[in-house]
Point group: C2
């Protein structure tokens, strides 16, 4: 029989090497992709709408003659929402409200204080003027992602939220449009790929330039985002989705198998790993996987993902499990253990932590409240979940009293002259009181 | 006479076009630079220390045979600090303490709350494990930048802070080493360029891999940072420094001229702009510039910068000045006006706001407290000053009560089935109580 899922054991001499291979991931942006993206960006920058029409016809197999045909208005979005079956409409509304409430807790406040000289120092928080949300078309078009990307922008106070979503072969996803309506998106353009990123970064006659582009996409989208980074803000460059489950052996193996499947079913590159220290329990989880996998609608994707990138890892105990968790820095961490509060203290790197056996990742993906846009491929070492803070920025505030300017002027003068910046020094010295 | 400084008037028909030309800036990373950087990154990734030694010898004109010669230890840093003249040592210490106190105010707190089902939702804030600070060598080696980059990392709780600084022709900047000591930097490597970025991003036998790279550099450094972005965190890609002064005509024209010089003296690409609506005042500022510029040590750089990129802009009044300010989104904004508090309300985009005629930018550059690493080239539209938040990241926390998981499971199930993700649905349904 083929391997069902990789089995690793921390006692094996080749453990580290095997784990490294399993975890390694590089989004391949080869010279050919780079070249095509550079060309697309330049064309859209120069030709605007005309280039968007041409690229959309070519890449999405459309037959439109102007940008007007690539715009979806507010009524159409409202209609999509109204036409949903009641259970979907209600579920979307419940999810949106919980996501909104959670993100309200994230809002940073402006602050200031006065120093001993009466000078004011502080920081002012302001929202972006305009944000652009990229939503993939085709098989990875998820209405939940529309909510997760747009709601934090709304909570942040962004004035205008633009969405782009490609419609390959003209196919529109009604759930995505409905979610856009619910999330209060102002305008939708049915464009995608590097050309959509270019339109949002530079602006065209029809598409307004935005201040930040968020949302996942294929390798062309990722390459384009990297290229325009700096002229416009971008979120992270996302890799395949992953889950790390730590199990102390108490949770039902069938539940754990299904939790692993819920990650593996995303695509063949998705990664589902479970760590445990109870041999019998690990065997039971493997048996559940074997029994349940064939019953899944997306069995083929799941089995490929588990075989290529999945693993059951046997470690010596809780301490080693925690050490490995911090090394992996997973996007999703399910602590399927009896006392997750105690574990959380020691977790240094993870996008989202699902605590206890009742808290499956799927609940967080849709409606628990926290964002499901999370740092992948170990980037939780330095990145955060998408949040309100991604749609705001800060300005430092400094207001020196005459006395404060005089005192600081002496210090600044010494340091500026040490750097041979004498205009700096004289500018500071001008404020020194006699 | 050559133009001393550009004069723009918002009433002119070509005003917008001239302003756009003046503001436009693109860091040129041509194919040749790209190619060389790609090669350097690959070599360091593969060959580690050996490549660092080779590149440092070649680009910095050194003659070392091993990485051991490119490491500066803690005692050497302490010595540099001890050997400083007393006034410089004191000034650095005062600046460091003020920067530390200001950044303490920036620390975000972890938070959580319980929803109506008793489920816990929150966010946990943790520091990065290790940060790398790039400090340019040669003419742009500023000890103040060492403080501004390292202190927020310390306040954030970063475990280890690494510094890299090239030493072209073997020349070491004692003030930079002294600042590194004061800022509590753990290790210094005298490497620079794309090779230093590669070492920090990938790690070598001697240089540990970091989680985030911050600090300014030339076009090779900027190109390398863009390339490794995603495998490691990076700060912004900085353009030339700029100041926008808004003057209501009350501030001494000599002070304003010197404030403009303090920006222009950085380099020929630096940008100094003053906006006003009082013709006599604008003429007085121009006269001050003309009279004072020849007295400056860096007169040549200042005059080139003012001629090529500087401007005095005449607008119709305060309202238009504010509108223009938001359009420019300056790195440094000096509100040299009588009532700066009222102005601040309307400023949507600026890196740092210097309020009132006593608050010159130079004070903020060195010792007021706020960070001097600020978003340039209009990126204040979406970016913030470097801060404690740049050295921390967040993990979402979700702990569902059995009741909460059951209620959320029903919503998640509907949404997951709407997205054809049935493993997600079944994972959620497993938690529904009978």
């Amino acid at each position: 029989m083929d391997t069902l899922i990789n089995r690793l054991d921390s006692r094996d001499t080749d453990f580290t090497a095997r784990l490294d291979r399993l975890l390694s991931w590089e989004g391949v942006s080869d010279a050919e992709v780079q070249h095509r993206v550079t060309d697309i960006l330049a064309r859209v920058k120069q030709e605007g709408d005309a280039a968007l029409v041409e690229f959309s016809n070519r890449f999405d197999r459309l037959n439109v003659s102007s940008m007007a045909e690539l715009v979806i208005g507010a009524e159409r979005l409202a209609q999509a929402y109204a036409d949903l079956p009641a259970d979907q409409r209600e579920a979307l509304a419940v999810a949106a409200e919980r996501v909104r409430v959670y993100h309200e807790h994230q809002k940073p406040e402006s602050w200031s204080f006065k120093d001993e000289h009466g000078s004011l120092l502080g920081q002012k928080v302001t929202p972006l003027d305009r944000a652009g949300i990229y939503v993939p078309g085709g098989k990875a078009a998820y209405p939940s992602s529309v909510l997760m990307n747009a709601i934090p922008a709304h909570v942040a106070g962004v004035r205008e939220i633009i969405m782009v979503v490609p419609t390959p072969d003209g196919v529109v996803n009604e759930l995505v449009l409905a979610a856009a309506h619910l999330a209060g998106i102002d305008r939708v353009f049915t464009i995608g790929g590097a050309q959509a990123v270019a339109a949002l970064a530079y602006g065209t006659e029809t598409v307004p330039r935005v201040d930040k582009i968020v949302g996942p996409g294929n390798i062309y989208v990722a390459t384009a985002k990297r290229a325009v980074f700096g002229q416009v803000g971008i979120d992270m460059i996302a890799g395949p989705s992953e889950i790390l489950v730590v199990s102390d052996g108490v949770t039902d193996p069938d539940w754990l198998a299904m939790d692993l499947f819920s990650q593996a079913e995303h695509d063949e590159d998705a990664q589902a790993i479970l760590i445990g220290w109870d041999d019998e329990h690990l065997a039971a989880v493997e048996a559940s996987i074997e029994r349940l996998a064939p019953t899944m609608e997306r069995a083929e994707i799941i089995l490929t993902s588990l075989r290529e990138r999945g693993a059951l890892i046997r470690v010596s105990g809780p301490e080693q499990a925690l050490e490995l968790t911090n090394r992996i820095a997973p996007e999703h961490l399910e602590l399927s253990v009896a006392n997750p509060e105690e574990w959380v203290e020691g977790v240094r790197h993870a996008g989202a932590i699902f605590m206890g056996s009742h808290t499956s990742e799927a609940l967080g993906d849709y409606c628990a409240g926290p964002n499901h846009v999370l740092p992948t491929s170990g980037t939780a070492r330095f990145s955060s979940p998408l949040g309100v803070y991604d749609f705001q920025k800060r300005s430092s505030l400094i207001q020196c009293s005459p006395e404060g300017a005089s005192v600081l002027g002496r210090t600044a003068s010494v340091l500026a002259r040490g750097e041979s910046l004498t205009a700096h020094a004289r500018s500071a010295e001008n404020r020194i009181l006699d």
